[in-house]
């Protein structure tokens, strides 16, 4: 298997997948040329993401990256999430093959977009 056990686990058992009613922030990102698309929904209380959900269309690693990102985002400050990096998501997946790094980038960009949307709404 070319993917880590963590990638396979999140692909098979995605956490926090699905839509959210009345979210405080929604953000998405599409990886140009690849068609992979991820969308995050955030519920924010006191500047922190208390609930995170996602939808995605993409290859296995893209699904896994969105899933792991939803876990590591929960409880974090929106301010911090607006600057989340792909490297953190990739590390949480115990690595990605070189040709699948974009999976973490899509998840990070979508999460940042959702955080920025939540911040703008608040402001």
């Amino acid at each position: 298997m070319r993917y880590s056990a963590t990638v396979v686990d999140h692909f098979l058992n995605p956490r926090n997948a699905g839509m959210m009613q009345a979210p405080d922030g929604v953000g998405e990102d599409e990886y140009e040329g690849c068609g992979d698309l991820t969308r995050f929904f955030l519920r924010v209380r006191d500047g922190r993401a208390v609930e995170v959900r996602f939808q995605t269309y993409g290859c296995g690693p893209t699904i896994a990256a969105a899933s792991v990102a939803s876990e590591l985002a929960r409880g974090r400050a929106v301010e911090e999430l607006s600057q989340v990096k792909a490297g953190e998501i990739e590390a949480a997946l115990d690595g990605l093959p070189d040709d699948r790094r974009h999976a973490a980038e899509v998840a990070a960009a979508a999460l940042r977009a959702a955080a920025l949307a939540a911040r703008a709404r608040k402001g």
Partner: protein, 385 residues
């Protein structure tokens, strides 16, 4: 332990036990060089000659018309470049749904100054012989059309195309890597002048293939060196491989007809099973003119690689029609040429059945297919925000 089901026979096949048994003595027993005149060499030569006779008989050709190569890709390069270089310059016709071994060879010829027309296909992936006729020019020097498409399984109207080329004295090359040993045909009846075939698609070993070159067809070598293969393809013969290819062909001659019927029934069981249980699924390729064991399934709004991965984790080997390489998606050029909309083409999966495939395997794949697609669609599909 997870059940393992291999449905990727168009990619490669396991070596048939009888093939392996026939090959083994030629690794360390009869290891001579067929070009050597001593007894060791003669032993190897006889084995190569027998394989050549078996292949020739199967194709309706003579042994002198068969050249062994290292693989289907080499055969395609040899067939097309050999015809083109023998004529120096001019125009070639091929189709948009060829294997990359043909498409990229033609593109390389364009870089060298040859002109190439890539004819399209209809929604079933079929070339229209009339379009080939319209593409013919006074300076057309060769036509190369595949016999059957590896991805969607459509069998091309080679006989009609062969009539056109034969009438005009233009050589016809056919990539038959996916049809040799799967459907019956005769190179002369189809009007073929050069034909590529390969061993590992028909339960022979990898690294051995061949090219039929009709007698007196003008063709130059693309690999130079010794005087092997009647000076047409230099390089010491892959004796064990050639022996294996010859045996594989001999076995196909006796098993092909019965297996084609069995695989057609299993393929129908598979596609009807999937269509009956999974919504928004359709089949691609020609409904009738198709390879017995090849099913191309399009699953709307599911990304094919995630489907392949999900099935892989259930022990099932199928292949994705579209490939994502380094973040660049490449929807299959075959489906694009067929005009399949992107939301369907992105979810294309090919299941290719073979000798070992059983009805139980097919039922397990149907059941797993439904479960994986349901999971991918349920929570993950991006709907309208």
């Amino acid at each position: 332990m997870t059940r393992r089901v291999y449905l990727d026979h168009n990619a490669s096949t396991p070596v048939h036990p009888e093939v392996l048994a026939e090959m083994l003595p030629y690794f360390s027993g009869a290891y001579g060089n067929p070009s050597s005149i001593h007894a060791f060499g003669r032993e190897a030569r006889e084995a190569v000659d027998l394989a050549r006779e078996r292949v020739a008989q199967f194709l309706g050709a003579t042994p002198g018309e068969i050249v062994f190569t290292s693989g289907g890709t080499e055969s395609d390069n040899f067939g097309i470049k050999g015809l083109a270089f023998a004529r120096g310059r001019g125009h070639l016709i091929t189709s948009k749904v060829e294997h990359h071994a043909v498409l990229r060879t033609c593109q390389a010829l364009e870089d060298l100054g040859f002109a190439v027309t890539y004819v399209g296909v209809d929604g079933h992936g079929m070339v229209d012989p009339d379009e080939v006729r319209r593409a013919l020019r006074p300076d057309t020097i060769a036509v190369s059309i595949m016999h059957a498409n590896s991805e969607v399984g459509t069998i091309q109207p080679i006989e009609a195309i062969g009539r056109l080329t034969r009438e005009r004295g233009i050589p016809l090359h056919v990539d038959a890597v996916q049809t040799l040993g799967k459907i019956p045909f005769d190179v002369h009846a189809l009007g073929i002048d050069a034909l590529s075939f390969s061993g590992h698609k028909i339960y022979g070993p990898k690294g051995v293939a061949g090219l039929f070159i009709r007698k007196s067809t003008r063709m130059v070598s693309i690999q130079h060196g010794g005087e092997h293969e009647r000076r047409r393809r230099a390089g010491t013969e892959n004796v064990p491989g050639i022996v294996g290819l010859g045996k594989a062909v001999e076995i196909r001659a006796r098993e092909m007809a019965a297996e084609a019927g069995r695989l057609t029934a299993l393929r129908t069981r598979l596609t009807e099973g999937i269509q009956g249980r999974v919504p928004e699924v359709r089949l691609s390729g020609h409904p009738v003119e198709r390879l017995p064991g090849t099913a191309s399934v399009l699953v709307r709004n599911v990304e094919s690689e995630s489907l392949v991965l999900g099935l892989d984790l259930k022990g099932i080997g199928v292949s994705a029609g579209s490939a994502c390489t380094a973040g660049n998606v490449e929807p299959s050029h075959v489906l694009v040429a067929m005009g399949v909309p992107l939301d369907w083409a992105m979810g294309s999966v090919r299941c290719s059945l073979g000798r070992s495939t059983s009805a139980e395997d097919v039922d397990y794949v149907v059941e797993s297919f439904e479960a994986v697609v349901r999971k991918l669609r349920a929570a993950l599909r991006v709907g309208a925000a």
